[in-house]
């Protein structure tokens, strides 16, 4: 019987628009765009230019700091152009897709070194992230363990019990492959309710029970085997484990995944089987409620996602699209005094706490002005790690390397602070602060 860890701190935010269990297939759009900045912490060096023909799995660019690390095309077609911004920074790679999907074939081998090389050339290495710093794993370091959270507890997140039910074999293949790359174990974090992942073999399982962020892999690492200075742990999303499994079984890079279209502004929230970086317009067009007020399209969930436009592109790691009201045209009179029964607060300063089955009107407003840190203990309530969030954040703001290390900066990722940012009275951009500080830490230490 797997060990059960109960998380008590945290918060489940109630939002309408959970995806119903229905999957539609969406083909790659006629044009797709890949934005290298969505792979955080790498410097892209282009391998293709306008007019070149690419297959699924053909390298588009590589990481200047680690030349073997390729980033590959998720579709087959012709590169239309490489869009560059100031100082020739690569802004995006635009590809005209073919109707026929043409896969580049890879030779599958089985030793650890060969797997590593295969993953790097096939671009699938980029699916593996590491702690510390929450960036693509450094191929030169062997991780002490690999952590996979098999459930996503974020608001409206895709239900992997449903999404993965036909992909368990590929998942197992992926896990077996990854297991060869670590000196330690592969840890699976399981959902307390039920889990189809319980039957996966060759792994160490731990059951997590409690509100969001119980499903965040960072929380699970902190409770099972925390990252210390000098150590590296890898993390990977279950759907990406499947992609690695497919490569091992079929010798192709197939970046198809199941994406949940969710949110209160979506008319028919459901799942879509589609390729990474695809255009979202076919999924959302005619499928949203508002015709008058502006909407916010998010690649990802409401806490950690990236804002895109209504005909924007999925970000490389996204498994969810959320659509909410932008709220920029909403003006609430006397917000500080009104009861505001349609507004949610984790604090008890609103009566909505007394109405447990209430659904709320969400939008993208900050709902207040930015202030210095005033309230204390607020973040602790939604931060289930053995770390003092406020003190860590303050040292991160000050870029104090030594103290950051001591207070646990190696264990955290921006997403771990998402709930703190949500509940914060002072409306501080905590995830951005953490991201910047981790980058500074990385540049100083490595």
């Amino acid at each position: 019987m797997a060990k059960t860890i109960k998380i008590s701190k945290g918060l489940d935010i109630k939002i309408d628009g959970r995806a119903v269990e229905k999957i539609s297939n969406i083909k790659p759009a006629s044009v797709i765009e890949i934005n290298p900045s969505h792979f955080h912490g790498i410097t892209p060096k282009m391998l293709v230019k306008g007019g070149e023909v690419v297959k699924v799995g053909s390298p588009l660019f590589y990481n200047k700091n680690f030349e073997a690390m390729n980033f590959v095309s998720p579709v087959s077609g012709t590169v239309r152009e490489v869009v560059r911004g100031e100082r020739r920074k690569v802004m995006s790679i635009v590809i005209d897709t073919d109707q026929e999907i043409d896969y580049l074939k890879f030779d599958v081998k089985n030793s650890a070194d060969e797997i590593k090389e295969l993953l790097l050339t096939s671009g699938l290495w980029t699916l593996i992230k590491q702690r510390p710093y929450d960036v693509i794993a450094n191929p030169n370091k062997t991780p002490k363990a690999i952590f996979i959270s098999t459930f996503d507890s974020a608001p409206l997140a895709p239900d992997y019990e449903f999404v993965m039910k036909d992909k368990i074999d590929e998942f197992q293949a992926g896990v077996d492959t990854l297991a060869k790359l670590t000196s330690g174990k592969v840890h699976l974090g399981l959902n307390a309710k039920k889990s189809i992942f319980a039957k996966i073999s060759g792994v160490e399982t731990t059951v997590f029970k409690g509100p969001h962020p119980a499903g965040n892999v960072g929380i699970q690492i902190n409770h099972v085997n925390p990252v210390n200075k000098g150590e590296v742990v890898w993390t990977i999303n279950p759907q990406d484990v499947v992609v690695i499994g497919r490569l091992m079984k079929r010798g192709v890079v197939d970046l198809t995944r199941t994406v949940a279209l969710t949110g209160p502004e979506v008319a028919n929230p459901q799942y879509f089987e589609t390729v990474a970086c695809n255009n979202i317009s076919e999924m959302v067009k005619g499928n949203v409620k508002s015709t008058t007020y502006p909407l916010r399209y998010i690649s990802g969930n409401v806490l950690t996602g990236i804002k895109i436009s209504e005909n924007g592109y999925l970000t490389p790691y996204a498994t969810q699209i959320t659509v909410i009201d932008e709220g920029s045209e909403t003006h609430e009179l006397f917000g500080w005094a009104m009861p505001r029964l349609n507004k949610f607060s984790a604090s008890n300063m609103f009566f909505t706490k007394l109405l447990p089955n209430k659904t709320f009107k969400w939008d993208a407003r900050l709902l207040g002005g930015r202030r210095s840190i005033i309230m204390s203990g607020e973040w602790d309530k939604v931060f289930p790690m053995d770390i003092l969030p406020e003190h860590l954040i303050k040292t991160m703001m000050a870029h104090n390397i030594d103290r950051m290390e001591n207070l646990g900066a190696y264990e955290v990722a921006p997403e771990d602070f998402a709930l703190c940012e949500f509940v914060d009275t002072s409306k501080l951009p905590l995830q951005a602060i953490v991201r910047e500080a981790l980058d500074v830490l990385r540049s100083e230490v490595e």
Partner: protein, 401 residues
Amino acid sequence: MSNLRKFIDKIKPNFLPGGKFEKLHSTFDAFETFLFVPNTTSKSGVHIHDAVDSKRTMIVVVLALLPALLFGMYNVGFQHYNAIGQADAGFWQMFWFGLLAVLPIVVVSYVVGLSIEFAGAQIRKEEVQEGFLVTGMLIPLIVPVDTPLWMIAVATAFAVIFAKEVFGGTGMNIFNVALVTRAFLFFAYPQSMSGDQVWIRTKDTFGLGGGAVVDGFSGATPLGQVATSTEAHTQIVDMFGQSYSLLDTVIGLIPGSIGETSVIAIALGALLLLITGVASWKVMFSVFAGGAFMGLVFNHFGPDTASANLPWIYHLTLGGFAFGAVFMATDPVTASRTETGKWIYGFLIGVLAIIIRVLNPGYAEGMMLAILLMNIFAPLIDFYVVDANIKKRLKRVQVNE
């Protein structure tokens, strides 16, 4: 869209950079956000936010202070009419007298403090912060009713500028601003802040409630009586020598600073602060625990003086102890910011307040100094709590090696 919103949108460009009144941008922004929740949307990070903000939080604290304010107004009238021998004056007459006496102090405190806040925000080109909404209400509640208004103005200005603005505004201050105001008054104008002449208004207010003070009147506060007593045991009495029961000190129809006398009114505020979670119950509870502990220690092992022999429970109900514990010690900015630290911080405030009261006859009241002193030590307490977390992390590395 409402006409009000249309009007604001029409005049708004004047206050933006490049507009006619760009120098008044902070002021305009303060009024706009007072009327409407700002419609700024998130650029990065979380896309939805909790509805709570700094304005809401501060308003909750102001609401929590209202019972103490209203009771204080009534008590000012009650004490006055008793002092001039008109104890049969009606409830509303007493309240009306108190209202007229207290309101000018509230107005002066807010006008002076908010003017400086607005100016400060404008100079720093920031939004006006809401912290003073609470401070401005606290100041009238912790001064004697007969404090001259000009003193309140000077002290408020001093505190807001030197205890807050120079540090960078709300959230950056080291000391509780209202208590700095009180301390400034206490040390700059001791004759107006202590003794037995300042706690009860004996003159008329705007011509209301005129009359001569009754013979045998004494306006000393209970704690003042205890501190000046030469006996080993003293009976605390009202202005005509009738003794006060414990219940009297809880109800609070006794002389003292305007808002501090009624434990019941303060408890109502405390209840609101605790239910809404604005104040830390750990701090609040541990201040009382510290006070009770030290009171008991002095009851059993202390010197044989009136203040050491005062039963511990009276230490909690008299003077500013309850008010300080509920509204001052819990100020999140100046209190300890770690959860463990809050226990220590609160407990030491309670302990120190009683030590000052008992061992220093010069200060009848110790709460103000105890909290200001612990404001200094709060970062030190946090330092050790944070250090313990760091050590635990370092130990983990060693175990692994």
